[in-house]
């Protein structure tokens, strides 16, 4: 048997009007809960709507409607299945739902082409606003949307070549906290595995790491700062390579969640998880149950998502104040892996 019954044409307001024996505009009034419809008429129209299974075509409506809002926003993430991005997605959805707004979520995969294509696709669909995890050296191409009054909020990474609202974690500071935490546990040979350096966030975290070392009078041993680690496999391979050196690191900062997974996997693979210290950026679901537990700098993706969505809706609703930068607090969660002391015991405090 066919799963689709005869695909009748969708009913329109005209059909409802005809069935209820009223004018088109009267149906529109009932559908939009406008005043000046008698109780009797309203009821007749509602019966007709139910009988036909009518649902208004929202897109057609917003064509004429004041301001032309589509009640739709676009959300561009690295990857919708990255837990960090997924948490943002969820928070944005919650805020949007309260505004009767639907969310187009999409993955850019940190690919400039794809990012632009998504912006264009969302633009053609006339989203009311855009929340973007920007990648690449320049978001000037978004100037066009800006000029047409499409509100824009950046998350996780500040835009380049454009003045706009941003919501992010203070990456320099928190990377510094991670590194200082390791220094405080006696480490001086600290490796750093960072994401694609084209991403400002990745550069900031590396900067925070380097500054913390410098502040403690330490320097980055040659080859200890690895950038462009874009997968768990690569992270594991890089860390293994470092551990194989004659002068290996005694601690490592893995500056993004996928990298942390690779790093932890490498340590466990070598059975070194209890003698090489590790601090990761971003929390992970089972991080507390490993042995040792993984110490992390936990960003607050739910708050990042919530704040960015609130900011976006404020803009959509007309706020034209100066561009804001919202810094969302993170926190250090100590679980063991980051508190492993340096061998040789030159431990402070």
């Amino acid at each position: 048997m066919s799963p689709q019954t005869t695909a009748r044409r969708r009913p329109t307001m005209r059909d409802v009007a005809a069935l209820a024996g009223v004018g088109l505009k009267t149906v529109s009034r009932v559908v939009n809960d406008e005043p000046n419809v008698s109780g009797d008429t309203r009821e007749r129209v509602e019966r007709a709507i139910d009988a036909l299974g009518f649902a208004p075509n929202h897109g057609a409506g917003s064509l004429r409607r004041e301001g032309g809002r589509t009640q739709t926003i676009g959300l561009i993430l690295d990857a919708v299945d990255n837990p960090f991005s997924a948490a943002i997605n969820r928070a944005v959805e919650t805020v949007a739902t309260a505004r009767q707004t639907a969310v187009f979520a999409a993955s850019s995969d940190d690919d400039t082409e794809r990012e632009r294509a998504l912006v264009a696709a969302f633009n053609r669909r006339r989203v009311d606003g855009l929340i973007v995890t920007a990648y690449g050296p320049d978001q000037g191409y978004l100037q066009n949307e800006r000029d047409h009054g499409v509100p824009l909020v950046f998350i996780d990474r500040p835009p380049i070549g454009l003045l706009a609202d941003v919501v992010l974690t203070d990456n320099v500071a928190w990377a510094g906290v991670a590194t200082r935490h390791l220094i405080d546990h006696g480490h001086s040979r600290i490796a750093f595995l960072g994401d694609d350096l084209a991403i400002p966030t990745a550069r900031d975290r590396r900067l925070g790491h380097e500054r913390a070392l410098a502040a403690a009078g330490l320097e980055v041993p040659d080859g200890f700062s690895v950038g462009n680690v874009t997968s768990a496999e690569l992270a594991a391979a890089e860390l293994e390579r470092l551990l194989d050196r004659p002068d290996p690191p005694t601690a490592v900062v893995t500056a993004q969640n996928v990298i942390t997974i690779g790093g932890v996997r490498a340590l466990h693979g070598r059975g070194r998880q209890s003698d090489v210290a590790l601090i990761g950026f971003d929390d992970l679901p089972l991080a507390d149950l490993l042995t040792p537990g993984i110490t992390v700098i936990a960003q607050d993706p739910a708050e990042i998502g919530r704040a960015s969505a609130e900011r976006l809706f404020a803009r959509i609703e007309g706020d034209d104040g100066p561009a804001e930068t919202i810094i969302v607090p993170a926190r250090l969660i100590t679980r063991g892996s980051g508190e492993i002391p340096a061998p040789g015991g030159a431990q402070s405090r």
Copy 2:
């Protein structure tokens, strides 16, 4: 400084036509790559498009366009931030992108009201099709969309009261595999923690568990089969309660990813992770790095997402064959927690 420059009105085709000195329809031809436009004219129009930053209003176009496709689909998941759902989301996005289609993803939170509201919202936005993780006892309310020819594919859970395509894992069989695996390691006192029993999937997994026990001549000890475990906290509490009994289970099946997290947390909390066997449904990111590693029945969410999206697009493109049920294979991944033998050693094979 204001982040939004003066919000000029968005340019329309009319504006482009005026600037290029051509008719409206000619611009439409250029935008849609239709034939019968001279190279010279085409170029003038393209220059005008660039100068104005024009982007066609896709929604307005689909109003008149043949068939009225919006190139948009709706995806209703439990929660976009559940890793299993997020993986599905990603796979659906990949298929949709290849078809120039945008995806509305949303979380139903296993709430009937919300599920209906989402269907209604997507329907008003005239999605070309819907992929739904159905909750609740009856999806008959979707009959209306069906009658209007909106293709519908169910994932993870078969629809009730409706004949439609479904993509899912054979939950009865794989729950049986999990339980049999524990029986094979000598266990006879096996607890089962399952999700909300209003969900068919949860019932199927429990059924598979019970059948496997029965097939081995075992029965479900009183109180060992716990349903409606809807959070990690609840799962932990329930498992602790069972372990506190005078006749505790020696093994447990946690029949969903969130439940597995709670169950594992309870075992680690009690220091019992190495003597109570556990098998979870759905894989988890760091499951291999725990001690012991978590043995799981790993569904294939990427394939579930891919297959459901392919099915949906086939329907959208006119396939009106009989409703199909697509069973996506899962696999048993042994990592240690499921291979802990029963104490007392009455171990078979």
